[in-house]
Amino acid sequence: MPYLLLATIKTIIVVAILMHVLAYLQWIERKVIAHVQLRVGPRRVGPHGLLQPLADVIKLVTKEDMLPSHVNKVFYFLAPFVAVMFALIPMCLIPFGGDIRVFGIHTTMQVTDLNIGILAVLGLSGLGVYGVALAGWASNNKYSLMGGLRSSAQMISYELPMALSIASPLLILNTLSFREIVDKQSFFYFGFLPNWSIFHSPFPQILAFLIFLIAGFAETNRVPFDLPEAENELVAGFHTEYSSMKFASFFMAEYANMVTVSSVATLLFLGGWQPPFPQQYGSWLIPPVIFAISGLICFYHAANPARPFDRYTLPVFGVIFLGIAGVFLIPAVQPILLPLFWFSAKTGAILFVFIWVRATLPRFRYDQLMRFAWLFLFPVALVNLFATGLAVALTAK
């Protein structure tokens, strides 16, 4: 029974954090895109628009749920559930940190560890395409159908380079369990260069990392591969006929898929929760220093306010940041917070790239998308896999 209790508590924590991350990811996306385009972004609801996600959720929940008369009802209702379910399940396999001890209970910072972890994540997130395909088909609308068809074709095509790019670091790491994958990247060359897969010495996996990231953009239907919902040709693609919470669940599934892809990239290529240089050279000082600097910047801008009410809001953020910096200095919580910090920092950096690309790149044409997958990405991934296999075979003892 303690196992069940522990698993339940961990699941609740992960779900609670994930839901907030998904909500605020959207706020961050709007803010970042706004700043890239020289706008200010949402700032009406709460200080700097920080309560905007809450307002969005209330708006989506209270909106009228339209049911078009011409849809296939069963599949129309089933599709958003399928999409959101297979986007959220893989999260329970992602580890956020190493072994920890809380109140005398020894546990891992992960809901469950499978020795086929990465395969399970691939398989489960691959099923998410049914949500999109079904939504497009059940809507009984030619734009939706086109969106659903494009989405299934795109996902089948990009799953190949993605699987091949995952295979090459797995050849080096020699395991499928996420926990062991990260443990094998914990060692440092010459005492300071991290042994992450993208820096691995016989054959660095930078190419595989880039292929994985590009295929990840396509798998999550993000710009520049968001053909399934290309608004200037397909209205809104597969979710044209959806409104209210059903629309919101497609939205949530897209962001959850983004988080999963970024987490898997972090674990496989960037060493998971391992710091970029060893503990004894002071890598544990980086998070408190970053938060302290953020706090001081807040205080500086509060002293020289650009807008009148910055004088009152920014000191609050400054105190919060300094408080977080202080928490990072407490030795008792460091084994929990430091892995979490590095994991979130790396995943967050990849998520930022997702948003950055959305703000800068135009959309591909559909034939370009397919040609790119089959004639460029797939052969490159294959060559990379062969080269890595050769390197591994030659260096094997």
């Binding site: 049914y130 395909a133 068809l149």
Partner: protein, 166 residues
């Protein structure tokens, strides 16, 4: 716990399989088939075949069935027409099927040696490492022959598809 999970997922597999035959619309049938594949993957997992479970999920439920659904959607296949059959063909099906299944169960019971009983959690050889080692040592020849067979199938598919383009 294992028994309860087995019963739940076995029931899902059987119900989905029956639904697959009963549905008239191809999309409903395809989705029922995905249900069968998913439930089978869980059954493999319960028996300790972790790698097979993941492969089932990725290859069958993921890749192959996506292609099925894609083709059905692309061709926009409609619901199949129910053909009026004679009364006796409609009612003799179920007893015949029951008789056939009973016969099969009897033959399996008699022919197969009395097994020591398959227990949940007793099989520990289903991990990717064991399967990989076995594939590349004991079963290398069948493995290579299968890959050549699949290669031939791919080339055949390309040749057949090209003919239509020219």
């Amino acid at each position: 716990m294992d028994q309860i999970l087995f019963l739940i997922f076995a029931a899902i597999a059987v119900i989905c399989a029956i639904n697959l035959v009963l549905q008239t619309h191809p999309i409903s049938s395809a989705l029922s088939l995905i249900g069968v594949m998913g439930a089978l993957a869980v059954l493999y997992l319960l028996l300790g075949g972790e790698f097979i479970a993941a492969a089932q999920l990725i290859v069958y439920a993921g890749a192959i069935m996506v292609l099925f659904v894609f083709v059905i959607m692309l061709l926009n296949a409609g619901a199949e027409q129910k053909v009026k059959r004679r009364v006796w063909t409609r009612w003799s099906g179920a007893p015949l099927l029951l008789g056939f299944v009973g016969l099969m169960a009897y033959v399996v019971q008699v022919l197969l040696p009395p097994s020591s009983g398959i227990r949940f959690g007793s099989f520990l050889q289903g991990g990717p490492q064991t399967i990989g080692t076995r594939l590349f040592t004991a079963y290398l020849l069948p493995f290579e022959i299968t890959s050549i067979l699949i290669l031939i199938a791919i080339i055949g598919a390309i040749v057949l598809a090209r003919k239509e383009i020219d």
